[in-house]
């Protein structure tokens, strides 16, 4: 559990003083608890940053803490950050800077408009400039800068998932030009083994629906939204420039994305830099428009109890709660149940705002991962399958199923995988 520094005792597991090993519980020391000075310098440093001004608006009502997913497993949230800043915390070098998953739940309930989605990137950018960035995150950022994806895989390997699939897929990097649907596949669908399952399912479903679609292939790069939220605005700008040029090169009616983070980027943040509007849809929105056609194609039943995890960047950030549910409820035989925390109140998987690459750091300050907390909830409501529609989530939740000893009790599947299983693929 993360405690405030002054409340924590200092206990050296291995302490050698003047050559004598004094390790052990009896060398425990307590840091004095009294506040002896209110030094607002660090608070003011944050307030002075463009974008981070609103941290100074907090009046401690604490509504954010009631909905902060990190506080469920530790001690965190905007109100507490503000209080600690008033008590002199240097956020620029503090682990608290990296604990926020930018899930947007605090801002949803904040009467003063304290906006962590703007505060975090602003402060993180400054921290990165000063060289204060967690190693695990730094690695990811370097990978994206160098290879265009967080895994550090080559661009060539981005299309490997297509080659193992006996489906026609137009690769626009080889056959550029007009296409009806430009499908932005995204990093995790391209490279992660479980993401690849979903990507292949998507390609099959698109083909059965007769969609004229193409992918950017090796010319696709990370959308950059999570990197932007990590404070890498420069890297984000480079990625925007690249992906925008690719979109321009291949005229399309719609830009369909697998990833809610990409959806958020193309819908809300690319336009700020390029001045363009993008005809972007999350794949669940696109497929929900084809629901009648899909229903006629279903030949198999999926007789399982399922629940659905709302991705923060599709739901709270962009207000889409219905499209995924329309798809799930249309699947024959499915028994759908909501979790307690759903839709606007949905719990975060912990992957947003850089959390995807910060499991080491957050692990030191929380009792469990957010994904573990969520998996327990899914099981508690009686689900056999946790259905997701964000590429970050299959891997996060599958790990959490294992780490909570629930293997066999809960399966994690992307919606597209279930749709793919239930339509007649023999055609």
């Amino acid at each position: 559990m993360s405690e405030h520094e002054y409340q924590r005792h200092v206990e050296k597991e291995h302490a050698i003083i003047d050559g004598i090993d004094v390790s052990g519980i009896w060398n425990r020391m307590w840091v004095p608890r009294e506040t002896t000075d209110f030094d607002f310098t660090n608070l003011d440093k944050v307030r002075d940053l463009k974008g981070a001004e609103s941290i100074g608006w907090c009046y401690q009502c604490a509504q954010c803490i009631g909905v902060c997913p990190v506080d469920n497993v530790g001690s965190y949230g905007p109100r507490k950050l503000y209080s600690k800043l008033q008590n002199g915390m240097d956020l620029f070098t503090h682990s608290d800077l990296w604990m926020c998953t930018t899930c947007n739940n605090c801002l949803r309930v904040c009467p003063k408009g304290v906006d962590m989605m703007k505060i975090m990137p602003a402060v993180r950018e400054q921290a990165i400039l000063e060289g204060n960035v967690p190693v695990e995150l730094q690695e990811m950022l370097q990978n994206v800068a160098e290879y265009g994806n967080p895994m550090g895989e080559s661009a060539r390997k981005r299309v490997r998932w297509m080659k193992k699939l006996d489906e026609p897929i137009r690769d626009l990097s080889k056959e550029p030009g007009d296409v009806d649907v430009l499908w932005y596949v995204s990093d995790y669908f391209s490279y992660h083994p479980r993401g690849i399952d979903a990507a292949q399912a998507m390609a099959r479903v698109f083909n059965r629906l007769g969609i004229d679609f193409g992918v950017l292939g090796r010319e696709e790069k990370c959308d950059g939204d999570s990197q932007r939220l990590c404070g890498e605005s420069g890297l984000f700008e480079e990625l925007v420039e690249h992906n925008h040029a690719m979109f321009e090169k291949n005229p399309h009616e719609r830009l369909v994305v697998s990833d809610p983070h990409a959806y958020n980027a193309f819908k809300n943040h690319y336009p700020e830099l390029t001045g363009n509007e993008y005809p972007v849809q999350h794949y669940t929105q696109f497929l929900a428009e084809h629901i009648d056609q899909l229903k006629q194609m279903f030949t198999e039943r999926f007789e399982r109890k399922v629940t659905f995890h709302d991705p923060c960047y599709l739901g709270r950030h962009n207000g889409e709660y219905e499209a995924p549910r329309t798809l799930i409820e249309a699947i024959p035989g499915i028994e759908f149940m909501e979790m307690y925390r759903c839709k606007q109140q949905g719990y975060c998987c912990g992957g947003g705002g850089g959390g995807m690459w910060l499991d080491g750091l957050t692990g030191e300050h929380t009792s469990e991962r957010l994904s573990e907390n969520r998996v327990r909830e899914a099981i508690m409501v009686g689900a056999e399958v946790l259905v997701v529609c964000c590429p970050y989530e299959v891997s996060r939740f599958e790990d959490a199923v294992k780490s909570t000893d629930n293997e066999g009790a809960l399966e994690v599947m992307d919606i597209i995988e279930i749709i793919d299983m239930c339509i007649n693929n023999k055609e």
């Binding site: 409340q7 009294e34 506040t35 002896t36 209110f38 100074g56 608006w57 009046y59 209080s83 008590n87």
Partner: protein, 351 residues
């Protein structure tokens, strides 16, 4: 029957009552024990009014000018009411001044005798008001802010850290004042802004139980102070002021952190609340007005009639009836004038 209304007290509520009476065409005797009009805002040297921060003298001069010189207004400065005979509509009231006493006939009365500031050394010495030069009250701070020079009394130098301690003499069973004085949160916040105006680099903290920023004070004062002037509000009241060597320290708890504090301060400003003024208690006795349970003049009719006392023909306005801000005092002044004149009119028309 004289047909006259007597307004006792020349502060905001009394001035508004007098203005109302003469605007309704009735004769008004305005009695003020001090030698000038304007009440506490003037006599206690408020720098600016809460919440709009208009210069106090300019704002009060406007009120005074609307009464002074009017042929229906008979203004008696330096006069006190010392005796009352009879009952409405035929009160015989004795006015005492340096030059002697006079008995005047009046029909109805508006008591607008105001409040006094709580004396922070009266019951307890926990804040060291009479011990430490740099421990002040809101009123002391007003005077300094009005002079345009905000300095530590002990050194004459500008303070680097100033804190306000809310609820001093209010909301306190031990002291016997169980009421919220309503205005101190706003006044302290206003003063905090004024200090920041004069000393932008000064650290200003308000220690509070809960900030009671009624209505528009919320964003006009509280949010403005926090967001634009970077006044820091910390929840948890200072329990005592003490000294470490030459330094004043405030002790208490930062409740949002659950953390005890013992923080040095260059200046401590005690947000003293309201109590019934001596004049208010004296008028209650002379006119035989019952006091409500907190010791202010009682009204009947609850929240739906804020100015009617249980005694026929006697009305009350402003802080004589309980803690009130300027807006409420002025509204009560107008309402009391209306009812005091209506009282006379009813009798005149019936006769």
């Amino acid at each position: 029957m004289s047909g006259k209304v007597m307004v006792i007290g020349g502060g905001p509520a009394g001035l508004e009552a007098a203005r109302g009476v003469i605007e309704l065409g009735y004769e008004c005797i305005l009695v003020e024990q001090r030698d000038s009009l304007g009440g506490s805002p003037i006599s206690a040297s408020y720098a600016a009014l809460t919440p709009d921060m208009e210069d106090t003298e300019v704002a009060m001069a406007r009120m005074i000018d609307s009464v002074v010189g009017n042929e229906l207004a008979d203004i008696r400065l330096g006069n006190s009411v010392t005796a009352v005979e009879g009952s409405a509509p035929e009160f015989k009231v004795t006015l005492q001044s340096d030059s002697g006493s006079e008995i005047v006939d009046i029909c109805s009365v508006v008591v607008a005798t105001g409040f006094k500031h709580f004396d922070p050394g009266r019951e307890t010495q926990k804040y060291g008001y009479y011990e430490y030069d740099d421990v002040l009250t809101l009123v002391d701070a007003e005077k300094m802010l009005k002079s345009g020079s905000f300095v530590r009394p002990s050194t004459g130098e500008a303070p680097k850290t100033v804190c306000f301690v809310q609820c001093v003499g209010s909301r306190d069973r031990q002291i016997g004042n169980q009421w919220c004085s309503k205005v101190c949160c706003g006044v302290a916040t206003k003063e905090a802004i004024e200090i920041k105006h004069l000393l932008p680099d000064c650290k200003v903290i308000v220690f509070y139980i809960d900030m009671r920023m009624y209505g528009f004070w919320e964003d006009l004062l509280y949010w403005k102070a926090q967001e634009e002037y970077r006044v820091n509000f910390i929840r948890g009241l200072v329990s005592e002021v003490t000294k470490r060597g030459d330094t004043i320290v405030v002790k208490g708890e930062d409740t949002t952190m659950g953390r005890p504090m013992e923080v040095p301060m260059d200046m401590v400003i005690l947000s003293v609340g309201m109590e019934p003024s001596d004049g208010t208690l004296a008028m209650a006795e002379l006119f035989e007005l019952p006091l409500e349970c907190h010791g202010y003049i009682e009204t009947k009719g609850g929240p739906l009639n804020t100015v009617q006392t249980p005694i026929d023909g006697v009305f009350v306005a402003g802080t004589a009836a309980g803690p009130a801000d300027l807006e409420d005092s002025i509204s009560m002044g107008g309402a009391a004038a209306l009812k005091a004149c209506a009282f006379i009119r009813r009798i005149t028309v019936t006769n």
